[in-house]
Symmetry: C2
Subunit: 252 residues, 2 copies
């Protein structure tokens, strides 16, 4: 039983190795702007001292961050924080760091927009490509979301599983790669306001998800797309309400 990524997100980031600790702290510091974009960060030696690790570990951490596009090292110059638009926002670590710096409404809006672009399309593709096995699997997951015993966490996990299953059934590997994004969105939504709060909410969510599978099962592309759009719209609305008690525009 491999532990899913959502769990690590909720329980906190893996801080076993000293490498990942440094990566985590530095990554958050960059994302938060503590090391502003365009600036040079301290040299290897000083950072190594500051984190109380060897230069080896520090450099490996830097390579990890560089691989994600956050920094660019240049000999004699130093290591520069790259412009925001060069960061790989689909990286699950980077998303996590964003959320650790407090939940930003704009950010959630952006994620919702991306989901709105992506997931309905994935559902439509699933209506074309999904196998019978995948369909019954998705149906089981959708039904499982209706369990009234759900805690907010367990519901978020079930939700994530369903959406990843749809992405998988789309037979397009890129859709599956958006998983980390979906995950981040669900965590954000769940932290703000969970439908598991009331039993009625849970039933609603489950019913809406089942409808997606039904459309996929009927091989109805447009129907699947529409059903998925409903689910995402509901989630977004919940976020808006939770973030601001006087939502300027609820009509989405």
């Amino acid at each position: 039983m491999k532990k899913g990524p959502l769990e690590t997100l909720i329980t906190g980031v893996d801080t076993r190795t000293s490498h990942s600790q440094v990566v985590d702290v530095l990554g958050r510091a960059i994302i938060s702007g503590e090391f502003p974009v365009g600036t040079i960060l301290p040299g290897d030696q000083e950072l190594a001292m500051r984190f109380k690790v060897s230069r080896t570990v520090l450099r490996e951490a830097m390579k990890t961050l560089a691989a994600k596009g956050l920094i660019v090292p240049r000999a004699r110059i130093g290591t520069r924080v790259t412009a925001r638009n060069q960061w790989n926002l689909f990286d699950s670590d980077i998303l996590t760091w964003h959320f650790h710096n407090g939940i930003d409404e704009d950010f959630l809006t952006h994620i919702s927009e991306v989901r709105m672009a992506f997931e309905p399309h994935a559902a439509a593709l699933a209506a074309i490509h999904a196998t019978e096995v995948e369909i019954s699997h998705m149906m089981r997951l959708a039904v499982a979301m209706g369990d009234p015993a759900h805690t907010p966490e367990s519901l978020a996990v079930a939700d994530l599983r369903f959406h990843l299953a749809v992405a998988e059934a789309s037979a397009n590997p890129f859709m599956r790669s958006v998983g980390s994004l979906i995950e981040a969105a669900l965590v954000g939504i769940f932290k703000l306001s969970s439908p598991a709060a009331d039993r009625e909410g849970i039933e609603d969510v489950s019913r809406n998800h089942i409808r997606i599978v039904e459309q996929i099962s009927r091989r109805d592309e447009a129907g699947a797309r529409a059903a998925m759009e409903v689910v995402i719209r509901v989630g977004r609305a919940r976020v808006r309400v939770a973030m601001d008690d006087t939502p300027e525009t609820v009509a989405g």
Copy 2:
């Protein structure tokens, strides 16, 4: 003048430092399946010997690959190649490696699907958020695509610039992050068959792109979305024709 990413893709990958060389060779080997998914790759020392570099450099290269989700190291076990669905396909290096292993029709189809999900949405958002400065900038880029003096390369670059500008104007950072994907798609398309081959093709392309800007300028979301869909559909059709002289289904 910062050099764009497309140039490096066409001219070949940066192979200055021995670190990036190792990353490149190992990355390609993993993507190509030379080190199959699920297998353990050779130990640090052996790989260091094989690449004729120190263990330090090799390990930093491994961290780079691990950051992109290609491998997972575990003490005493070794370093395992992760399942394909854990790779970050939106990473520009990973995409480059895919294309270096030969262009795969399925892969191009998948990219087209993603663009079809993403870019029309981005265009619609641009119709809402684009500033006047951004609009005139996009218009200049679209017009510049019509220059009959374009070589295939320069047209691909102009094309990329335009699509990135639209993503930027959407005011959603995630859209901009899909840039590496767009880039890969353009490179793939350009390698197969460039519209710069005939003058008529260039004019067509330019006209279609100008139409997008016009719709954005009119703040017409649906129109911008539709215009973008046309552009992507045309590109996809050209790829299909180029890949197979007897396209089974041109009707998309």
